[in-house]
Amino acid sequence: MKVNIRLAGEAGQGIATASDMLGLIITRCGYWAYSHNEAESRIRGGLNFNQMSCSNEQVGAVEDQYDILAALSTRALETYAPGAGEGAVIIVGEKDENFPAAFELKSLAEQAGSAKSIGVVANGVIVRLLGLDRGIAETAVREAFVGREKLLTLNLAAFENGYNAASEIKTELKLEMPPGDPDAGRLWIAGDEAIALGAVAGGVSFMAAYPMSPSTGIITNLARWSKEINTVVEQAEDEIGAINMAVGAAFAGARAMTATSGGGFCLMSEGISLAAIAETPVVIALAQRPGPATGLATRQAQGDLMLALHSGHGLVPRIILAVRDVGDGFYKTARAFDLAEKYQTPVIILSDQLLMDSKATVAPFDLAGLPTERHYLSVEEAEKIDDYRRYKYTDNGISPFIAPGKSSKIVAVDSHYHLENGTVSENEENSAKMSDKLRKKAATIAGDLTDLPLGIDQTGGGGLVITWGSTYETVRAARRDLAESGVDFDLVNFDLLWPMAQLAGRIKKMIADAKKVVVVENNITGELTGLLERFCDRDLLTTVDKTTGRPFYRRELAARLKEVLS
């Protein structure tokens, strides 16, 4: 069972706070919530909304229809009421003659003590409609105002007003949730929070970044938690500073990270190239948004795959991972630190605005499979080496590393082509060896990363749909819809976007075997489509794209896939 709720109004009306509280209540009551926001790039004014699904099963698809609409302003009401689902409950924020309603949220808020509590009043109504536990809900309200007595009293009153008023609502829709699982201990967490938490699990000890939507949440959360983690967090003066700081920290033996969006990542290009030749691990979170240049600063796209693949001149033995959903961000990020250090190379984690700003109920993260060992020489091992050379030539292209000052060994790192001991050299014979070393490293990575290729949902249907990043969950939901009308397809999600050549055979066969192949991606340029073209005939691929800066919605996606696959 799933109920879709839209909470809409002007920026500054407290929609984010109210929806966050509602998602927490749903989670604590033992259900699953998934929400995303759409907002204009403003601090005050401008329409925005939170779109939330509440279900007794895990949810993650992006919806644009709603069974309950709480419209806090007149403009929100006039804009979104027409699009509400059949028989939807419309909760009116401000009286409007075109939308007769039993009560008005604004008055209930003012009766409680302040118009500003309108979002909490709405929550009271919604909690009642969903049949959620009142005690759990009120505890959540209380916690939001701890230490602020006046506001606490006011908001509890606001919640009560909403809860009571809800009894006046008559609806044919089945909105009350079946019994939930409140002892499951699930987490209500945002995409950017999950990535930051994954970094903590991955051992991040140095984070530097320059604020840029939608990536800013990663450094902000690490900074917020900085008293509870042994991590240095520093706001960089610019993105070039950020990437070079991450490389410097890694050189000194820390586990280093930076985060940015497309424009900032462009600035980091030379730094990525530096990490490749210096052979310093670095984790770079690239949270995508529409480009080119400033593009749509607070909107959705997944258009930077080729940028991630080609940034940094010369041979950069990189790894690119794409985050599939909020919970996946935790595991991918933790894994990224392990891979970066093992291969002493940059690892890029691709996410996007939709994912970063979404919140979801997730099962508590399972730490059991996560690494607990670093990949460096211990002091004892290092001291045993007679003539330590940082860039010693090895069979797999990876040279054992110990950070400077941890042992008596001297560590020389360089951005030029260099000898084994790090001294700059143009010598032709050595240049051949160094080029070979970088190639070997790239080959080693490709040979090892066969366990992170594709997530596959196969039913043996006629068509094949390929996704990457946050579109996966919405396509999966659309697939369930279409199965009901007899349209079926295999679904393959690319978790690892690079290296890919080692999967060439599998990819080629998968595409050739399918009746029709559709790549669903939210960009103008057909990023993954273009990458797959290296492994198959271009004519075999059809791209379903979106170029408006909005996420794919389940309904439209189901309709488009049905059309393309029929």
């Binding site: 991955g202 240095v232 210096a278 690494p371």
Partner: protein, 285 residues
């Protein structure tokens, strides 16, 4: 490990021009480090690209020769990650005041315990003689055939105006000034900027060793480097003479102290423990 000059010696082929002003710095740095009891394993020298950037390759010491203009961010992060190490940066006037100008400005803001040594020779030597940000107006260079038409940066004034907590100048024409200022800069807690005036024997026929010998002077005993007004006057002086010594000095809390307070140090030694994330789960329940 006891510190000795011989520990810093490395067998290499040097590619600087004979008589280059860099040699005085290459010889002075190990002396300063040994005077402070620092052996090579306790020191990190970070440089960028240029003739100055080659310096750590000619020494036996922990080093990172990074990208042009980007030595300072490497050093800031290295210091924050391994704060038990002595971190020193060597840049040319191009890397420090041009390509890397923004990073220098912010290193001054940060007041982080690193020592930034600028090899200021008014030219880009490695790329064959273009102007640097400090080249005097109207100087003919290998790119400005009619002479440089932009005014030079005044790095000492910039540093003093931004309250850099240690600003000093030395010269390759006065070898001892290099050793003394580097010692003092490393001892200073906070960002230490040491501008070293040196001749470029190949591309600058005006500012020769003789020019510097004739025009450099040591700041007098009665010059008080904690006197801001005196420093302002000194760095804005139109006098052609080149002051050597500590120009300005103050004590201010450092970024490394602030960010590392309450942390287990050095932060690079943090054990890898995924449970650190579990401890934060309560924030999401």
């Amino acid at each position: 490990m006891r510190a000795e000059i011989s520990q810093y010696k490395k067998e290499t082929v040097n590619s600087w021009c004979p008589g280059c002003g860099n040699f005085a710095i290459l010889n002075g740095v190990p002396q300063a480090l040994v005077d402070l009891g620092l052996s090579p394993d306790r020191v990190i020298v970070i440089s960028d690209i240029g003739q100055a950037g080659k310096m750590p390759h000619y020494m036996r010491v922990n080093m990172f020769n990074g990208l042009h203009g980007r030595a300072i961010p490497l050093a800031v992060a290295a210091k924050l990650s391994a704060d038990d190490m002595t971190v020193m940066v060597h840049l040319g006037d191009g890397g420090a005041y041009g390509e890397g100008g923004n990073h220098l400005l912010h290193a001054i803001r940060r007041n982080i315990d690193i020592t930034v040594v600028v090899h200021d020779n008014y030219r880009y030597g490695l790329t064959k003689g273009q102007a640097s940000p400090t080249t005097p107006y109207n100087t003919v260079t290998s790119l400005d055939f009619d002479g440089v038409k932009s005014g030079p940066v005044n790095p000492l004034a910039l540093a003093v105006s931004q309250s850099c907590t240690f600003v000093a100048q030395a010269s390759s024409a006065d070898k001892d000034s290099i050793i003394e200022m580097i010692r003092a800069g490393i001892n200073h807690k906070g960002t230490a900027l040491i501008n070293i005036k040196q001749p470029c024997v190949t591309f600058d026929k005006v500012h020769t060793f003789k020019y510097y010998s004739d025009n450099c002077y040591r700041l007098r005993e009665d010059y008080d480097p904690t006197d801001r007004e005196a420093a302002y006057r000194l760095v804005h002086s139109t006098d052609a003479k080149v002051p050597l010594g500590i120009i300005y000095r103050e004590d201010r809390p450092t970024l490394d102290e602030a960010l590392l307070a309450g942390k287990n140090r050095p932060v690079r030694d943090t054990p890898l423990d995924p449970k650190a994330a579990e401890k934060l789960f309560y924030k999401f329940r």
